[in-house]
Amino acid sequence: MSNNSDSQSSLIPASEIKPATMELEAVRSKLADAKGPKYWRTLEELVDQQAFGDLLEREFPRHASEWIDPVSRRSFLKLAGASLALAGLTGCTKQPLEQILPYVRQPEELIPGRPIYYATAMPFNGHALPLLVETHEFRPTKVEGNPQHQASLGSTDLFAQASILNMYDPDRSIAVTYKGEPRPWGEFLGSIRGRVQYHKSNQGAGLRFLTGAVASPTLGSQMRAVLQLFPQAKWHRWEPIHRDSIRQGSKAAFGNYYDPIYKFAAADVVVSLDADFLSGSWFPGFLSYSRDFMSRRKDPKAGMNRLYVAESAPSTTGAKADHRIPALNAEIEKIARALAAKVGVGSAGGEQLSAEQQKWINAAAADLAKSKGRCLVVPGVFQSATVFALAQAMNAALGNVGQTVNYIDPVEIDPVEHTQSIRELADDLRSGKVQTLVVMGGNPVFDAPADVQFGDALEKFAANEQNQLIQLHIYRNDTTDFATWHVPEAHYLESWGDVRSYDGTVSIIQPMIAPLFDGRTAGEIIAIFIDQATTPGHDLVQAYWRSQHSGDDFEAWWRRALHDGFIGNTAFPARQVKANAAVPPAQTAHVAGQQGEFVEVIFRPDPTIFDGGFVNNAWLQETPKPLSRTTWDNVAFISPAMAARYGFLRLEQKTIEQSDRAKNVNADHQSDAENVIEINVGGRKVKAAMWPQPGQPDNAVTLFMGYGQKRTGRVGSGYGYDAYSIRPSGSQYAGFGAVQATNEHWSIAVQQGHFTMDDRAPVRSSNLEEFEKEPNFAREEPEPARDESLYPDFRDKGWYQQHAWAMAIDLNSCIGCQACTVACYAENNISVVGKEQVQRGREMLWLRIDSYYEGDPANPTMYFQPVPCMQCENAPCEPVCPVGATLHSTEGLNDMVYNRCVGTRYCSNNCPYKVRRFNFFLFADYETPIRKLGRNPDVTVRSRGVMEKCTYCVQRINAARITAEKEDRRVRDGEVKTACQQSCPTEAIYFGDMNDPNSKVAKWKKNQRNYSLLADVNTRPRTTYIASVKNPNPEFEKA
């Protein structure tokens, strides 16, 4: 079939393609019906197995095997490890007879039952997250950061942690389709070759490519090749969470595109102008930046840095600030100007600012002036170009360039301003200039700016039968509706490729597993256009680097690059650039003439599902969003005062305590029925559940993007509102609009109802001055001495003598980013329960991050406190268990024996920290075959009716101990890292052996700021906390 299509150079009319016997769409729609609780049922159950099987057999036999057994076709076989991964708690009675399938030819590197780690990198929002991936019998099971890589330093963010679940997502696109009908790859190839021939004939006129921000040198070079071959063709870029303002700003400041690289470790004073560099990877370099920043806060005595934050939407960065000032987005620019004027850049434009803001500016300016060359002004990626220009001008003026900030060539290949790029494309689509559009990744129909009306443009485009849209995506999404051809995209863990991290360093992306659904990479699609259709992804990448590498040691060099996970000194050198002091004029976009309250509307990526790409990721959906602790939905932040004005809160908000009580008088915290407000931006309206968020600036609504998708999998659909639908290209991160109350309600699943400490001081904090006066402030309620107890000290009985595992959590460093929570999900096979169950208070996460607010709701102090199992030495949960299913190990672990548990839940009732989780239903997915592949074979999959909780990753402890014992030595400090500890960007979690005096954890336990949670209950927790110390400016009040 492919041959004849080869020969003819015209387009294939639909008539020539035989229709499928059963529409894959039908299957899809069936899937779409399965929502919420049904999410953990099997695909086969939803689709009549026989029918679906037949369909696949007939349409493309190559796929058939996957559905019968996705394992068999892979380069690995079910071994003991695998069968353990399928572990249920179904033992006890008669053992079922199990099969065991050895290799036919066993790969040398593989030792069955032992994990192997491979280095790779995850492309994210135009840069790389460098990773090490743990694989069991060539099944990737866990993602870790690459310790050698500057952009990771061994830590990861929640997106990297959760990305592995997307690969094992049964809702992934499983087949090449033509107008929704399954087609073999060959047929697609034929048809596209046809178009390629056609476009060769017309210089590529009407041939367009749309990708996200590309940071892959190989793909870049391919695109360049394509554009040479087709001079008329165009390459458009659209990334919904783009950094246009930085592009424009750097044009304004330096006359060209540059990326700033900050050195927080060297900065004594940091001023953030809405820069949430402690919040997420959409701020490139987030991981290493937060590590560097917190390295200056571990020991208050050793030159603690100071952080000033002016922000328009409450963020975890603001939570860590020493001086935080909430401000409207528009005000940030004014603040920037005023601050700039004070440090000698430009002149104050007589901005009218509130007294607090003025005070903040004065203090910050003074501090900056005091520490020239050792300070840093950081502009937010969501701020205006002006703010960026001003900030860099200030850095120049303060002599920070080269000291705390450098400028490098953009990491993005051939950077463009995305907004402009997508608009051009839309216009061309409308005016019929486009015949072939290749969309690789992304979902423009959903996330393009509202006024661009990309969907409508595509409709016009698709109206012409001859036009073809070729889509490459891991899911079938809204854009698929217009796609002539849809090709399933390979997940990065299945792909060959390369990508640059924020500093330019290149990582080679190598696959952990053969594509589960025969997906393709962008490189492989582009290859078709430059007649390399048959070249496999690996060769494409290797060929490019062969061309780049000088010297004959390529093989060794290549192997090294793969092994290390990055190519040495590929980081971009710092450019000597001069910021021009000429400050661009103020510019504010005003949308006038709506009824309702006229407010600022702020758009932000969702903290857990980002731009919407992770919407079908159950782990991220159930991970509480920082600050609000909501799950499964996005909310609209408004200030408590505003909520009170609308009568949304029962009493006028004066203090957090009041708002808290008001909220909880007769509301059940797990599920808040929130009022719905209607936001109107330039005539486009969306209804969103409002959320009175302490710290939110007044007269501003913050909307989170990514939710409200219509075409997605079982996990993602049906939740939240679509902020993109009202996001104007003019003001993509903040504009103006009208807000109106409605009398509708939308119930939100919240994992925390009270945000006050209620005189229980779970979080202890102080500031530098007082800390010097009162160094033991954290110890006001010391634990009772051991000899006060009637119980024996088990140390005398030889317990806790060998190892005594313990954890210390540094509250100063914790930025509440949730990476640890997701890491825990991945490491410990934790089940996801769905929105309804979260609302019932049955979430399963083992490690929660409690958030507390203190003081004025308009601008409160915020604290984060990660709460895993405390592993109490006098564990209240243990003596109450009737069957002894939870007991103490000789190393002081509070063991939980799932297979012995009968589920009385008494232990949970008696746990003062409420860290225990119960399987109220069969939450674990025992059916979906593909899910089983991703499980950690070293951790039991818990069945119905069983209690579970944090184990300090006992599987890792045992592994390390066994290795150590075989080498006849003690376990070394740092040899055992818990999943949470390993993922933490700021090294806030220390874990190790208390008995080893040189261990990090032992040292931290001796720290005077170390305290136990609820010490007065005398549970003797092994997990303790290091009280936080802030570093406010002593002169602040005077300023």
Binding site: Y791, N874, C877, E878, P879, L887, R1020
Partner: protein
Amino acid sequence: MTTAQPIYGMMAEFDNPTDLVHAAEAAYAAGYRKMDAYSPYPLEEAAEAIGSHHNRVPLVCLIGAMLGMIGGYALQYWVSAINYPINSGGKPFHSWPAFIPVTFECAILGASLATVFGMLALNGLPQPYHPVFNVPRFTQASTEKFFLCIESQDPRFSPAETRRFLEAQHPHEVSEVPY
């Protein structure tokens, strides 16, 4: 009217408890020992009269209690301190205060079972067949009549003698109890 085949005893029926008790006392005085009184509800005087004072039920009860108590505690001690000692929330292996409730319950259980089954055994129950049921009017013994039965095993028993003796106690009726 003596009969060839042996009989179980001679039974007199009375209308009220007082007559029964007096008859019993008289019989005892007359030297009869192997006899029994039957009443529809507990009649201490009758028991006294036929010379049955103490019984061994309390002893059986005590033994049961002891066994239960010791067994209960021993089990807990062996399990928690010897067979599989476990550190449960830092409590001692032999946490005796925690073992008291179960020990107590075991003691009560042992005692109760011993008492009930001891009582039945001592009474020789179950015994659905018994000669006294051969007397047609004996069904009244569980309602409103009172009976005194002098058994043939008694050395002083002679059908004629005993019948005469009983009739002297102005019973409602005297009848022979066949085996």
